[in-house]
């Protein structure tokens, strides 16, 4: 560590960066400099250590449920591998999707007011009503492609304790791709942008029951309980 050549201005700049007062372009410049100037990076680290005593001012606040599940979904759902059995069967999926639409019609459980009315001009572009044949379970997933997020409205289904519901995109070919865990009380499910681009009108979605926190393997391990396809609102 060589800090002996740094001028007071560098000290002040490192301090400004750690305080956080700089505008975005200067924050980025400081970070670029930290990457190539280890002495300057040491100044920043030194300020971080000193100012960390002020962290006591941050009172812990319990975060909403579901955040960890979304973190896990983003980090660990990418390794989806081709699945065998029912998961690999396109016929099964198409059949289930068709059956779910029929069930939706028969039970009349999907009404527009289950979806929170979005502000005018920002209507979700695609909506899927997910159901299962012969039972009144279901949820509604509304995708806002601009935001890259689903808004999930649970209708009448929740997993047993110790289980999570995982939402999957079922492509025409290949293995289902995890989109993340269904928030237990509904809410937003934010997707990575590359995933959003894989989703289009008519795409088939499915929900499986998984161990708490989601499939440990990246492929669905539990029974499929809901499915449905996305269509324009």
């Amino acid at each position: 560590m060589s800090t002996g050549t740094h001028r007071p201005d560098d000290n002040a700049l490192a301090g400004e960066y750690v305080l956080g007062v700089l505008p975005m372009s200067e924050r980025r410049k400081v970070e670029e400099r930290m990457a190539r100037d280890s002495g300057f990076a040491a100044l920043v680290a030194s300020w971080q250590t000193d100012l960390a005593h002020l962290d006591e001012a941050y009172q812990p606040q319990t975060p909403p449920q579901g955040v960890k599940a979304r973190v896990d979904a983003r980090l660990f759902a990418e390794a989806a591998k081709p699945a065998g059995g029912l998961w690999g069967s396109l016929v099964f999926w198409r059949g289930l999707a068709f059956a779910s639409l029929a069930a939706a019609a028969a039970f009349g459980i999907y009404s527009g007011n289950l979806v929170q009315q979005p502000a005018p001009g920002s209507a979700p572009a695609l909506i899927a009503e997910l159901g299962a044949p012969g039972s009144s379970v279901g949820l509604i997933a509304a995708l806002d492609p601009a935001e890259g997020a689903f808004t999930i409205t649970p209708a009448a289904f929740s997993p047993d304790d110790g289980k999570s519901l995982e939402l999957w995109l079922v492509p025409g070919e290949g293995a289902p791709v995890s989109l993340g865990l269904v928030p237990s009380d509904g809410g937003r499910l934010v997707l990575d942008q590359p995933l959003v681009q894989q989703i289009s009108d008519g795409a088939l979605l499915a929900v499986s029951v998984e161990p708490l926190g989601g499939s440990p393997t990246g492929v669905a391990t539990g029974p499929v309980v809901l499915s449905g396809s996305l269509s324009k609102n």
């Binding site: 800090t3 700089l22 505008p23 971080q48 000193d50 606040q61 960890k68």
Partner: protein, 179 residues
């Protein structure tokens, strides 16, 4: 949970241990959500920020070095950076102030002395040596994530004046802590 135990969880997270990562989340997410809320002042945004923070923690756990920073300070730094980046992204990317005003004469580099002396005094002792309003500005900037623009408005001074104040205060702080 002790800093040592937290350090252990971060180290195991760096090895891809999801159980350790889950423990780390349950032990630290309330503190980091508190950080995001305090800076962003909006629950939905703080929730999005918290999600991003733990994605970063997973990806950067390997860069944590025991002894360089306390485990919690390292985690809070990631949370603060994420929250501050989010609010700065909504503000002008540059500010119309003069190029970094000179803050001091060419005194011997205080940082070098800090390294030699081997220990720093606590920041709050040194803050108390500043004028009260300047100490307040430093603390508010750090804790609330205020921008220069916001600080200048709060203290009803021009932007350049605010920046000169703050940079001088920082140099004084550094000098004090390395005494």
């Amino acid at each position: 949970m002790s800093q040592d135990e937290l350090s252990g969880l971060i180290a195991r997270t760096a090895l891809g241990d999801r159980v350790a990562f889950s423990s780390l989340y349950s032990q630290t997410s309330a503190k980091l959500f508190g950080v995001a809320l305090r800076i962003l002042k909006d629950r939905a945004q703080a929730e999005d920020a918290l999600q991003e923070v733990y994605v970063r923690i997973w990806r950067r756990a390997g860069s944590f070095r025991v002894g360089q920073a306390s485990a919690m300070a390292w985690l809070v730094t990631i949370a603060r950076n994420q929250a501050i980046d989010l609010i700065r992204a909504r503000q002008p990317a540059t500010l119309e102030y003069d190029e970094a005003p000179e803050v001091a004469d060419a005194a011997p580099d205080p940082e070098a002395r800090a390294v030699l002396s081997g220990e720093s005094r606590r920041i709050d002792t040194c803050l108390s040596e500043l004028d009260a309003d300047r100490a307040t500005a430093v603390v508010a900037a750090y804790v609330e994530g205020l921008s220069y623009q916001e600080l200048a408005e709060q203290h009803a001074v021009p932007l350049n004046t605010m920046r000169t104040w703050l940079r001088r205060s920082l140099i004084k702080l550094r000098e004090c802590m390395s005494r």
